[in-house]
Assembly symmetry: C2
Homo-oligomer: 368 residues x 2
């Protein structure tokens, strides 16, 4: 594994050098983990002129065996009374003879930036921008395999829930049970707060579980994900409670299903992100639901649950192979509920069989 | 409630005006919630020259009835494609005729700060510092009542766990069960990730639960807390598994108990934070455990789990009445385990009965 991290660090260093900076300071935790193998709380990574150093705010965390720092990295521990890891890293950069340091201006606070400037006044500070985030977009097979295992875990947790009695249980209880099952099956934890939405809440993106109980005739929409070795996936499904769905429920479900399929089928390398969004959105738009639609119909996943690319009407850029994304259109009708269907897929070329579906729970409309 | 928020906002505005700024932009979520009653994701609060405005990045969240924005506040929604709430708020400040705007430099990123400067170039940007955090230190009785209810919930969850069979269960399962019970009893959710540490892990501050199972003879240390209406409390206890604790376990427990009691008893209005720390630390130091001690022996709690004041050897400042703090000394012996005892208390004058203990679970050494 160590080589992988070294290669990633080299790529970031090359970008920085090309931008005129001798060294870079990476502070965003997911970026630190991507380049160093682990991101202990408060740690930053210095990509130095002569040496890379993981600068930790306290003794490194040995609790998670899957998240140990790359052994090829020097680890520098800042004594707790000695202040901030970013400031210490800037000091190390200066001591290595760097005259300029690129920082993550979209993550570093104004106050930390100022503190760095004051301890390393001869260091010219530049912006590394989203260099690391951009590198993270295309995944290697090791990363995809973590996402695949996470998706299996989420599928298992969801499958077990569907076999249990649901009527009368609250959204909160169902969400907690799903999270327990994720951990039972080997997840590090939930990838994001599990959403369980019943009746009028169903279909709302990001709905936070309430004490509402599942009732006969409800739509029930569930969105959950597992974190496995740091990688986060997402699955969302909508069900009907009771034996026979109402006609409006079948119609709405079929419509969202068609939209989601259109989105999935447009996931090819080279497709514009906005075109994938449009493929899904168009189906719902032309059925008259333009106002009921969320701002985005999908997004990248990886070490964070909401990464680039974003599938929105205004998105720039194209999809590459080996980019995992969600496709998650939905419709929510205030007061009535709605439908959301959400998969995690990996963009793959046609020759490799097209998009790889990681979350394989059925998308038939199940009546539970 | 509305008046409470208006009074708080007035106090912040007065501080800013005294510092020469006509308006202030509050972006740290806990600070936004403190001043506005709610902090929808991505929202910021403008304390304007002529009007205060809660600037939201999307439609405000109506999911949590306990966290609705103060009705006296104007709510301005930035269209999703229209960018950042902080930038929009700076635009509003300028439109109100402010010539200067104080921002939270310890929270705002360099990139957002730059974006604000570029849209509102005539606005002089200053630093509001930790004005809001400092106001938050002393709680009113309404806030303390939320903490008290949260502590009751945590006590209940812990009490129920102690009645169940523990041997053979993993740290992860016990932690999840505790979190489920917190929610069962009415918590918004856990106040922080629940820590369950067995055997050699016991006594480690912030230990993340693993798959290790509880064994006979183990120390078991548990640290959990409930969030209630946004307010977060904390309780930590250590137990012994089996009928008879070993001599070293009894000795270590008694020692940590004495240290924790010394800390609790020194919680009086006017006490220096470092003296409270020293009271607890001295007991452990003089028993030869100087190297096994954590960096802090307690901290404030409130809308965040780790607030000012901090009880450390280098802490500045004194305790006021109505400041809730944890007292949580512990000793961890690598390879053997350890003990941690953690309470949330409110500093009260002697005349009112001295420190108010919110977490009332027994601190006798229970053998489970």
């Amino acid at each position: 594994m160590s080589e992988v991290y070294a290669v990633r660090r080299t790529r970031v260093r090359e970008c920085c050098n090309a931008g005129g900076s001798a060294a870079a300071l990476v502070s965003r935790p997911a970026n630190v983990r991507y380049l160093a193998g682990a991101a202990p709380e408060g740690a930053v990574l210095l990509l130095g002129r002569t040496e890379d150093v993981l600068v930790c705010a306290g003794p490194p965390d040995d609790r998670s065996p899957q998240a140990r720092p790359d052994e090829a990295l020097r680890v520098h521990v800042v004594p707790r009374a000695g202040g901030d890891a970013a400031v210490a890293a800037a000091g190390l950069a200066a001591a290595q003879g760097a005259d300029s340091l690129a920082v993550e201006e979209h993550h570093l606070t104004v106050a930390r930036h100022r503190a760095i400037r004051s301890v390393a006044s001869r260091l010219r500070l530049a912006d590394v921008g989203c260099t690391v985030e951009q590198l993270r977009v295309v995944k290697d097979e090791e990363e995809i395999s973590c996402l695949r295992i996470g998706a299996e875990i989420a599928d298992q947790a969801l499958g077990e829930l569907l076999e249990s009695i649901l009527v009368g249980r609250t959204e909160r209880h169902l969400a907690l049970e799903l999270e327990r099952r994720l951990v039972d099956h080997g997840a590090d934890g939930p990838a994001f707060p599990t959403s369980v939405a019943t009746g009028p809440h169903a279909g709302r993106p990001g709905h936070r579980p309430t004490d509402r109980r599942v009732e006969e005739g409800d739509f029930l929409s569930v969105c959950l994900g597992a974190t496995y070795r740091g990688y986060r996936c997402e699955i969302g499904r909508t069900f009907v409670i009771g034996t026979a769905p109402a006609d409006w429920q079948i119609e709405l479900y079929d419509l969202v299903f068609s939209a989601q399929r259109a989105g999935r089928e447009s996931l090819v390398p080279g497709a514009a992100c906005r075109d994938v969004d449009r493929a899904a959105r168009h189906v719902l738009d032309s059925a008259g639901y333009a106002d009921a639609l969320p701002a985005l119909t999908g997004h990248g996943v990886g070490l964070e649950i909401d990464e680039d690319p974003r599938l929105t009407p205004a998105a720039m850029g194209k999809l590459d192979a080996c980019v995992p994304v969600t496709v998650e259109p939905g419709v929510h009708l205030p007061g009535r509920g709605g439908v959301r269907i959400d998969d995690t897929l990996v963009v793959r070329p046609e020759a490799d069989g097209g998009p790889e579906l990681l979350t394989i729970t059925t998308k038939e409309l199940l009546a539970l």
